[in-house]
């Protein structure tokens, strides 16, 4: 039997989280079908059809799914669920919103945020902000799983799956989209960037993200993140937050600036390949996980770092 993977997409573009979730779905085993639910998502469905290892793409293209509201999307997935042994989605804001609703409607206990597939029914997932790893076995006939995308490598775009159109499902008419305020950025997306530079409370102001972090990010082609403290203080928008309750990233290079390194923050970045910490407090816990640390004033180190990066080009 097959695996149904729910695609993550925004503004008509397939998100890299889908590529990574396909890798997890492949480890669960069986043919992989991708569901693209949205409105005006032809290009997105075509992109999904190119993902390696995908057999079929199901497209529900209807205004009903324009904002991927949990109630209609869950109803659609439940209607399709009969032919699948596993229902999988990346653990993005959208996947986390929809999949537990699906699981409950199917009377299945979901396995959230898996980081490893050990067998089609055995998974590893972090608990306590990643301070423990639980190995769980599910006896459910149908598995409902969300995937921590930072733990899986994206599949390539060498596939050629068939695309099948679906009629829209029922409209539960329970919620209505009003508006959205999205942060526009030309930078790489936080969860798929190869380099991430994050600022903490030490930055002291929004302007310092712009004046000090952004130039270094530009020099490195990096995405910009933030600690919860910086977001709570209003220095950075919520969608930059990295940590237990924010985004989880695992880039090749993570630079933590003015971040002390609370366990809740480490939960979101400690699987990065190389970690750099810049902090004036020598005793900051961030240095215990950093490969390279500079103890000093970020207000002088960041401009110097920008200069050095420019020189080394």
């Amino acid at each position: 039997m097959a695996v149904l993977l729910v695609a993550e997409h925004q503004n008509g573009r397939l998100n890299d989280a889908t590529h990574k979730a396909v890798a997890a779905a492949a480890q669960i085993g069986g043919p992989i079908h991708i569901l693209v639910a949205g409105h005006d998502v032809t290009a997105c469905a075509e992109a999904a059809a190119r993902l390696a290892g995908v057999e079929k793409v199901l497209v529900a293209d209807d205004p009903l799914y324009a904002h991927q509201l949990a109630e209609p999307v869950a109803a659609l997935i439940v209607a399709l669920a009969g032919s699948y042994t596993a229902l999988v989605a990346p653990a993005t804001a959208s996947g986390k919103n929809v999949m537990p609703r699906v699981a409950a409607l199917l009377d299945v206990m979901q396995i959230s945020d898996i980081t490893k597939v050990l067998a089609p029914d055995i998974f590893e997932r972090p608990i306590y902000a990643g301070n423990a790893i639980e190995r769980v076995q599910s006896a459910e006939a149908k598995k409902v799983v969300t995937v921590r995308t930072a733990a899986f490598q994206p599949v390539g775009e060498t596939g050629n799956a068939v695309i099948e159109k679906l009629a829209p499902g029922p409209d539960p008419k329970l919620s209505r989209f009003v508006s959205e305020t999205l942060s526009a950025s030309d930078r790489p997306e936080l969860c798929s960037a190869r380099v991430v530079i994050s600022g903490g409370r030490g930055l002291q102001a929004t302007e310092n993200f712009t004046a000090l972090i952004a130039p270094v990010a530009d020099a490195l082609g990096a995405a910009i993140g933030a600690s919860r403290a910086a977001v709570d203080a209003g220095y950075a928008p919520n969608d930059w937050q990295i940590g237990q309750t924010g985004k989880v990233v695992a880039p090749d290079l993570y630079i933590a600036v003015g971040i002390s390194g609370a366990v809740q923050h480490l939960a979101g970045m400690k699987d990065s390949k190389v970690i750099v910490a810049i902090n004036k407090d020598e005793a900051a816990p961030i240095f215990q996980v950093a490969d390279y640390g500079i103890v000093g004033d970020l207000f002088t180190i960041l401009p110097a770092l920008k200069e050095e990066l420019a020189k080394s080009r």
Binding site: A70, R101, N238
Partner: protein, 253 residues
């Protein structure tokens, strides 16, 4: 309108937990416990709605072993009106909790359920969505803003949700389940008069077995492991040395 606020007793968020050496779980003996921080935010949101005249009663419910009743008492001393303690020694999973909460909601008839978006112990982030599904209600997850319409007959709530790209605003038909994120509010502290008052507030205790629901765990926890630890690296003296090492040693730039 009655607001139902489910609360969970978890290891205090300041505690650095330890995995038992035999892999059987996390060390919970002599560890400080507290109300799940997201649930405190949910309770605060409910109390503010009541203070603003949108709600008539804030009902707290907690499910678990005897100690969960302490968490209810803590919530009552913050201003909740009444507590319901559903007692069980079964290891609870989100689906089971959602089923028990559904029964509570069926009996109590709240107009709104406000709860934490996740518990900081199992980090599942499921229960609210599952409860909404079982009740057939709308859901607003990861909410950092709540507005109740004042127009008479307008049976809607507007919520701002923290999503991956920014903030999304939805209108939900009531009754609804709302799960809250960190930036919704800053929870209050209990005051001495409220702690005294809380002692007189009623906590009803019910045995989960009376609910007639199968709450046995569906997942078998095979092992609990400590994560692979990172080692502290080296300190470098300057930005120049850092760039040099990232280039030639770590080869990441």
């Amino acid at each position: 309108m009655k607001i139902l606020v489910p609360v969970k007793r978890v290891v205090d968020h300041n505690v650095k937990i330890r995995v038992k050496p035999d892999g059987s779980g996390v060390e919970l003996g002599n560890v400080k416990m507290a109300m799940n921080p997201f649930d405190e935010i949910a309770l605060e949101a409910a109390l503010r709605l009541k203070e603003a005249g949108h709600a008539t009663e804030v009902l707290l419910v907690s499910i678990g072993t005897d100690e969960a009743a302490e968490t209810l008492r803590a919530g009552l001393s913050l201003g909740a009106d009444r507590g319901l303690f559903v007692k069980t020694d079964v290891r609870l999973e989100p689906l089971a909790v959602a089923k028990l909460l559904k029964t509570v909601a069926d009996v109590e008839g709240p107009g709104l359920v406000i709860m934490g978006k996740q518990a900081i112990d199992d980090d599942c982030n499921q229960t609210g969505q599952m409860l909404a599904a079982l009740l057939g209600w709308s859901q607003g997850t990861f909410v950092s803003k709540i507005e109740l319409g004042k127009a008479p007959g307008e049976n809607m709530i507007t919520v701002g949700r923290e999503v991956d790209g920014g903030i999304e605003t939805l209108a939900l038909t009531l009754p609804a389940v709302v799960t809250v994120d960190l930036r919704l509010n800053a929870p209050r502290y209990p005051t001495l008069p409220n702690i005294m008052k809380a002692k007189k507030k009623a906590i009803e205790t019910r045995d989960a077995a009376e609910f007639g629901i199968d709450i046995a765990p569906r997942l078998n926890i095979l092992e609990t492991l400590a994560p692979s630890a990172r080692k502290a690296g080296i300190k470098v003296a300057s930005a120049a040395e850092l760039v040099n090492r990232l280039k030639s040693e770590a080869r990441v730039i």
